[in-house]
């Protein structure tokens, strides 16, 4: 059985969790046929608690809310994931994502707060943000799931409202979560030292942001850097879904950062020889789904002299949001109306939009601003605006509400992005095949790269024309992140100790807890290093020690060196490894609330994840309560009867066994 459960993720304001008992929850199986059938589970059924099996069509808000209210009779819920995406869309996120952690609050502009102008995610049913008193698991629709349903039909199914007879088919789900109530309580409990081994019950969500710059930055020199003017090119790295371990995030995350990676590669040559005036900082933010963990941390670090730049060094921000194109040829450029009321900011923003439009000349895509005054969609740029009115744009594929029908759900996958491969291709051939999705994203990447070049002050028109994203690279990246990360291209670009972690399934974009490195962060780090860095001819020892030669003590503050596996030349099987020098850095993406120990903070993300023990499930038959009690009764009766009988016999033993009594001892 392939089980995916929902981990217990809690926040101060949103307590979404599942209570599950330590020994596992047992419930009689019930396959829900329709919403009306819920009456059996909630009222009429004679053998509560029930373990409800739902097909994905019934996994809706109304069914879940009804199950939630009747949770004393519900032992757990199992959702059978379909093999193809539901046509009508499904999004367990809220209708207004990151409502309270962006820039639009009552103080900024009350008319724009709380999605008053545009509901960004209209299909959102908010299921991910509810509290449930029972565990919820997801199962793939395979043979094991068929066996489970068959067990129900054999033993539990009734017709015409009669009661099913024991023994009944039941299921037990183990998913004990240690955390309680909310983040503040949970973090407080972490600190209690009653025993020799204080038990941590929850951990903050977070990971690392991946950063790189066209000019190297000295990371020991923190704070404002005079004369430095930086253009930030941002994208988000993470996504989520209702269930743990399956967050394909194709359009909500991958479309954006793959485009930025391709743009960074396209800009490599242009920014190496004749550097434009301004530095371009490529920023891939982690944890944006959970109230902007990564971007809020970077802004905090910049504001508090924990970063080699500060917010006064930032000239403008270009963010790539959801840019998957499904046959359209238009992209939308979103800006913040409030900061544009300032004329100097407005001028810079208009210049930026002109740059973007001129970069799109002679290409098949066009860029347009939304026709009416609208706030920014949920984006990392909002956190920058909270600190300073910086000019910037967010590029999206939607005019007002999201066109993504599967925002932050398990259906936001390669199939949704129209990554279709011709049949009968080997994995290697699929890796190389340029899909339509890849072609579209390549165009976007070219536009972004050229716009960044111009924005950074580059003025050579020949250089500009030569900036082109590589569609081969884009399709390989899309394949690696959304179909299979264990492929030959990724294998070449990672160090050998990470290569064994590459898997034969799509990447999971859930940010996870700070202690656990998430796979996409590391993959993007290695990719960015290979795509923007240079190969240097130094020994493995020097490379792994972050130095050019034995006496070099300075390079490690500016560059980072990676010893990657490389490819095997055609005639042999031994990989030729080499050293890549780049300006790629990881910067900690942990919400400032945890460093400041303000667990009830309204300014920063306070999401944590509960610790959990093993997650598993099993099915078996259960006997009726009466039979169990009967067995106990018979046992007690046998015990008492034998005690009495033995007492009687042993007290009369002399009489009973008197004939043939032993004569004197010597005979035997």
């Amino acid at each position: 059985m392939d089980l995916l459960s929902n981990k217990w993720i809690i926040n101060l304001i949103f307590c979404l969790f599942f209570t599950a008992s330590l020994s596992g929850d047992v419930g009689v199986l019930h396959v829900l046929e329709s919403e009306a059938n819920l009456d059996w589970v909630l009222q009429n059924g004679p053998n509560p608690p029930y373990m409800v099996i739902l097909d994905s069509t019934l996994f809706t808000r109304s069914v879940m809310m009804k199950l939630k209210t009747g949770s004393s009779r519900v032992a757990g819920v199992v959702v059978v994931a379909p093999s193809s995406n539901p046509a009508e869309g499904f999004s367990p996120h809220t209708t207004c994502p990151n409502e309270n952690s962006g820039v639009y609050s009552e103080s900024y502009d009350p008319a724009l707060a709380h999605c008053n102008v545009t509901k960004w995610n209209p299909l959102g049913n908010g299921l991910s943000y509810e509290e449930y008193d029972f565990p919820m698991f997801s199962l793939k629709d395979d043979n094991d799931t068929q066996a489970i349903k068959q067990c129900y039909y054999d033993h539990n199914h009734v017709v015409n409202g009669s009661s099913p007879r024991y023994p009944l088919c039941a299921m037990q789900l183990y998913s004990h979560m240690s955390a309680v109530t909310d983040t503040a309580t949970c973090m407080r409990r972490n600190g209690i030292n009653f025993s020799l081994n204080p038990e941590t019950v929850c951990d903050p969500l977070g990971d690392f942001n991946v950063l790189a710059s066209t000019r190297p930055l000295n990371y020991t020199d923190k704070g404002h850097k005079t004369g430095e003017s930086v253009v930030i090119a941002a994208a988000r790295l993470d996504s989520r879904s209702f269930f743990f371990d399956i967050a394909p995030g194709a359009e909500s995350a991958a479309s954006g950062f793959v485009t930025l990676l391709a743009a960074a590669h396209a800009l490599r040559n242009a920014t190496q020889d004749a550097q434009p005036n301004r530095t371009i900082l490529y920023a891939f933010f982690q944890g944006e789904t959970f109230d902007y963990i990564g971007s809020s941390r970077l802004v905090y670090d910049m504001d508090n002299k924990q970063f080699p730049l500060d917010l006064d060094n930032v000239h403008s921000v270009v963010e790539i949001g959801q840019v998957g194109l499904h046959g359209e040829s238009k992209l939308w450029v979103h800006t913040d109306p409030v900061s544009r009321r300032n004329s100097s900011v407005n001028e810079e923003v208009e210049k930026l939009i002109r740059n973007l439009n001129s970069s799109a000349l002679n290409l098949s895509l066009s860029l347009q601003e939304p026709s009416f005054s609208q706030p920014l969609p949920p984006s990392s740029f909002q956190r920058f605006l909270r600190a300073r009115p910086i000019p910037g744009v967010v590029i999206q594929n939607h005019n007002s509400s999201f066109t993504n029908r599967y925002y932050e759900s398990m259906y936001d996958n390669a199939e949704y992005l129209n990554m279709s491969y011709p049949p009968n291709l080997t994995p290697e051939e699929q890796l190389e095949y340029v899909t339509d999705a890849a072609k579209a994203l390549t165009e976007v990447a070219t536009i972004v790269a050229r716009a960044l070049y111009t924005q950074a002050g580059g003025s050579d028109p020949i250089q500009l024309k030569n900036i082109n994203a590589d569609s081969q690279m884009v399709t390989q990246m899309l394949y690696g992140f959304l179909v299979k990360s264990n492929n030959s291209w990724f294998q070449q670009m990672v160090p050998s100790d990470f290569a064994i972690h590459l898997r034969d399934r799509p990447t999971n974009f859930y940010v996870g807890v700070t202690q656990q490195h998430s796979e996409p962060t590391l993959l993007v780090q290695y990719l960015l290093a290979n795509l923007t860095g240079t190969t240097v001819n130094i020994t493995q020892d020097n490379c792994q020690n972050q130095r050019e030669d034995e006496d070099d003590k300075e390079s490690k503050h500016i560059y980072s060196y990676m010893w990657v596996q490389g490819a095997a030349p055609p005639n042999s099987t031994e990989r030729v490894a080499f050293c890549v020098r780049s300006t790629v850095r990881l910067s900690k993406a942990l919400s400032p609330a945890f460093d400041l120990e303000e667990y009830t903070s309204k300014d920063y993300s306070t999401w944590t994840e509960s610790r959990w023990k093993s997650i598993k499930g099993r099915i078996f038959l259960v006997a009726s309560h009466e039979l169990e009690m009967l067995t106990l009764g018979v046992g007690v009766a046998v015990l008492i009867a034998s005690l009495m009988l033995t007492y009687i016999i042993s007290s009369k033993a002399d009489i009973l066994f008197s004939s043939g009594r032993e004569p004197t001892a010597a005979t035997y």
């Binding site: 067990c151 078996f620 046992g635 005690l643 033995t646 009489i655 004939s659 035997y668």
Partner: protein, 258 residues
């Protein structure tokens, strides 16, 4: 199937054995020692038979179901024969021990009679045999489910417990009859014990037809019980006296110094 079934089956399987232990053995240290020694002898016999079983399974053809079934029957028969051999060995050992104890002790009569030894050793065999039969099943019965998802009968736990109770009592009866027969050199009785043990073990091949295996076992249990009662010195007259409570007078009338 939860704690109720666990305790119910434990009491069924070990109820009589616990009662016997509490009332007849627990207070006499010598009997406890011989009980445990008896259990140990049974354990050694099982070890030997499992060694043979393990080797023969490794060299056999694991694919052929018929061969595996044949191997199982062979294993059961071998185990029964080994158990009875060890019972005989224990008897010989106890005889020698008794003579030794007698020469060492100050008293004139033996501290424990061969008849009591027969009972105690039989019960020891029974305890250990019952434990091995049923402890794993009891551990599983404590879980939330019951047998049956692959189509087997859901009375597995209950019938295993009853079978174990029968086996424990049978071992006790066999012990008594066996030692008595060895004392009196009645080898046909020894053979009858071995044959009835084989019969009971082979009846378990009827499972999962629990009725077909349990009912004959209980019939054999009753018959062996009667035989053991007579071997131990009981008689119908004694039984009638006991039941009609005339025993008190009899005791006084037959009172003699021990």
């Amino acid at each position: 199937m939860t704690a109720a079934v666990f305790f119910g089956c434990t009491f069924i399987a070990f109820g009589p054995a616990i009662a016997l232990f509490l009332f007849t053995i627990a207070r006499e240290p010598l009997r406890v020692i011989f009980l445990i020694a008896g259990a140990f002898f049974w354990l050694v016999s099982l070890l030997l038979s499992s060694l043979v079983w393990f080797i023969s399974v490794q060299i056999s053809n694991k694919e052929s179901a018929a061969q595996q079934k044949g191997l199982l029957i062979f294993g059961v028969v071998l185990s029964v024969l080994l158990q009875e051999t060890f019972r005989f060995a224990y008897y010989k050992l106890l005889k020698k021990a008794n003579e030794g104890l007698l020469t060492l002790s100050q008293e004139e009569t033996m501290p424990i009679s061969i008849r009591q030894l027969a009972y105690v050793s039989g019960l020891g065999f029974g305890f250990m045999s019952g434990a091995f039969s049923v402890v794993n099943i009891l551990a599983d019965s404590a879980g939330p489910g019951t047998v049956g998802i692959h189509g087997d009968s859901q009375h597995y736990f209950l019938s295993s417990a009853f079978m174990t109770m029968a086996i424990i009592l049978l071992h006790m009866f066999w012990g008594v009859v066996f030692f008595d027969a060895c004392e009196k050199q009645r080898w046909w009785a020894v053979g009858a014990v071995v044959i009835s043990h084989l019969l009971v073990s082979c009846l378990t091949f009827q499972n999962p037809e629990y009725v077909a295996s349990l009912v004959p076992t209980y019939v054999i249990l009753f018959l062996m019980g009667v035989w053991a009662f007579y071997s131990a010195g009981g008689s119908l007259r004694n039984l009638k006296l006991c039941l009609t409570c005339k025993d008190k007078d009899l005791l006084l009338a037959n009172h003699r110094p021990r």
